[in-house]
Amino acid sequence: MKKLMLFASVLAMSAAAAQAKTFVYCSEASPEGFDPAPFTAGGTFDASAHPIFNRLTEFKKGTTEVEPGLAESWEVSEDGTEYTFKLRQGVKWQSNAAFTPTRDFNADDVIFSYDRQGNAENPWHQYIPGITYEYYTSMDMQNLIKSVEKIDDYTVKFTLSQPEAPFLANIAMPFASIVSKEYADALDAAGTREEMNNTPIGTGPFKFVAYQKDAVIRYTKNPDYWGTAPIIDDLIFAITPDAAVRLQKLKAGECHLMPYPAPADIDTIKADPNLTLDEQAGLNVGYLAYNTTQAPFDNPKVRKALNMAINKDAIVEAVFQGAALPAKNPIPPTMWSYNEAIEDDAYDPEASKAMLEAEGVTGLSMKIWAMPVQRPYMPNARRTAELMQEDLSKVGVTVEIVSYEWGEYLAKSMEAGRDGAVMLGWTGDNGDPDNFLSVLLSCASAGEGGANRAFWCNDEFSALLNDAKVTADPAERTALYEQAQVIFKEQAPWFTIAHSTQYVPMSNKVSGFVMSPLGDFTFDTVDIAE
């Protein structure tokens, strides 16, 4: 009888195992670590911040709209400098073999999560030697956030040094994930602080199970998740760096979904009856930034004339194979405040030539920098540069194409006396126009080491951005950003190239996957048909 019961229970267990749904994602790279705060790579956030953790505010799935996360609601003071968050109650922390939480998520966790990043005196600021908080620092959070106070267990008040309209979007970003104070204390007591980064404990839809570097990450469904529970039981990241191999794995059924297919494979994927290809306009821009401090590129009319000499549609066709929208503005059309009314400079070599002559520019020779790597906003910079070279030769401009190894390219392109126009791009972090315009084109970022590779500083433009930053009303902000785009177009510090389309190939069995405009891969809503 005993044997029979054992047999029955084994049977029941294997039946349960057969029903367990395991979703395999062929991810591109190993995460840098599992603590979301110190790292910057998108692949790291897909492996840590999104499955395991939550933030006070979250981006609504498939959008860049901000919705309540661990904060149920919030109030903003009249002057826009005080944010009071009401925290969600009954949110359970995850557990693992070494840690069992004794309390739910509360205000102490919020304060700890921010303080350890911004306060150098916090014992957890340097819990691993050499650790830094690059997102927190580069977004100037340490100066923006004056204090984070606990009003009661479920109320926290953030006081800012100035009004900051994008604040709610900023704290929905992965670096602002809320970690457990109680877990940190337990690790402190055990003398194993580095486990904060190795075996994460969060409040998110999935629990971390195991990680083998460069091979596999395993997660299991968090049974106590406060939000809508995931449909799949187990989530596996099969780390597969090569795009061609990822596609072979997808075709062979070794994984269900993959990121970043090679542009050349798109047609094959579309033709495969077993695969589905989701696509979405990317929240990105590829551009060519003139050095606006260098003659004759300091003259907006010359820049405008050069822009008119380049056949943008031909680049989109030849380099992006049509998988992009020609860009006329520095922000993509999927972003709010995109100025639809602006007209792109027409491709007109004759007019361009005449304009250059009118400005007294003849026999111009210039350098165009092409980056050596493929980026999400630019599949082939070299080829793009060659097309530009050909177009510009037709208006009498001689172009020399230069390129450096990626690290050197980033460094040299920032140097103040840089010779030539540099090709580069940007992918949005949080869906706020400020994250494009201020980062890439403001006077503040035109200094040495800033991301403004055109070194373009227009006082009127920067003033509009600063006004928009401290204005809370979305309609007013939209008007300011729309006006800023008009100035941008008149001044032409860049030749705006394209907004590339993002593709996600997946097995036909997959349903419920939602593409994120921010390029995140999240799996709490996916299902697989057997």
Partner: protein, 335 residues
């Protein structure tokens, strides 16, 4: 023999110091630095750059940095990765078994096929077998590994479906690392089918990694055999009426093996180079892929300590080859 070993060991000391200098300076000669690469398109202000460089200890003079590195090295501290913040040695030890497993399989395949093919080609010199096998060896030697690996994946995994595309074992098996060698751990785990799955995953990458060494070994064996077969003692053995298999197996092969053993030993370096590409294609979690990632991110501690560990390993293997060589041929250790 003891003197022979000691003299060989003494040679290792200056070589090792030389390697530390090369490993240390190699990654610093590359343009760009880890701080810039971390910042990417976002850029980093000169103040922040200086702050981060100071935090990482890269604001000091490069010679001081070298002595820091050596000082810590002598205490057994290889530093922490700038990217993952984990100790370099931990990462190395967790990835190394995968590379060894792959490399051993490759060298076994290369030797088991390369030596017999070389011997046969030498005996039947000028025959169709000789010509076909040596042409194949030339093609194999010139094969771009990346392309070859992808070709095999598409054919055997994609079209025929005989082997899995990539990875070390099917994801349905999950057990903790014991030795780090998947073939052994899968047996220890006791899970049904795990060993077979691990073996199936190992086939394609080891064949790809074995290709170049196999070609080199086959050609080397052939030429060594041809030389030996022309020697007087072989002619004498034949004249005595000794059967062909004994002439080849005992008199010729043993003498021909001396340069072949050296060649096999030297292939360890070739394997390391090949492992970088093979591991990337087959998503094989080994040290080749680890090194490449670290170089492109300018992860100084990983590159310098990783190179050092790999170089030390190649040195030890070469030493063992030298010693084996001495065992096979007494004249060498007496010299």
């Amino acid at each position: 023999m003891v003197r022979f070993i000691l003299s060989k060991l003494l040679y290792l000391v200056p070589t090792f110091i030389g390697i530390t200098i090369i490993a240390f300076s190699f990654v610093r000669i590359l343009p760009g630095d880890p701080v810039l690469l971390m910042a990417g398109e976002r850029g980093v202000s000169p103040e922040r750059h200086a702050e981060l460089s100071a935090l990482l200890g890269y604001d000091k003079h490069v010679v001081l940095q070298y002595f820091d590195f050596m000082g810590r090295l002598l205490q057994g501290d290889l530093g922490n990765s700038l990217v993952t913040k984990r100790p370099v040695l931990d990462e190395f030890l967790s990835l190394f078994p995968a590379t060894v497993e792959l490399g051993l399989c490759a060298i076994i395949i290369a030797t088991l096929i390369g030596v017999p093919v070389g011997v046969l080609a030498a005996i039947k010199r000028g025959s169709w077998f000789d010509q076909v096998s040596m042409t194949a060896a030339l093609v194999g030697f010139s094969m771009p590994i990346f392309w070859w690996g992808l070709l095999l994946i598409i054919f055997f995994s994609g079209i025929l479906g005989w082997t899995p595309v990539s990875g070390r074992i099917s994801l349905m098996y999950y057990f903790p690392d014991v030795t780090g060698f998947m073939l052994i751990d899968s047996v220890i785990s006791g899970q049904k089918g795990a060993f077979v799955s691990a073996l199936r995953h190992l086939i394609l990458p080891s064949v790809v990694l074995a290709t170049i060494p196999l070609a080199v070994i086959a050609r080397q064996t052939r030429s060594a055999m041809l030389e030996v077969l022309g020697e007087d003692y072989v002619r004498t053995a034949r004249a005595k009426g000794m059967p062909q298999y004994r002439v080849i197996g005992i008199h010729a092969l043993r003498n021909a093996m001396i340069p072949v053993v050296t060649t096999i030993g030297l292939q360890i370096g070739v394997l390391m180079a090949g492992a970088i590409l093979t591991e990337t294609i087959f998503s094989w979690p080994g040290i080749g892929k680890w090194m490449i990632d670290s170089i492109s991110r300018r992860d100084y501690p990983v590159v310098q300590s990783g190179l050092l560990l790999i170089a030390a390993l190649v040195m030890v293997v070469n030493l063992l080859v030298d010693l084996t060589y001495g065992l096979i041929n007494p004249r060498i250790r007496i010299k």
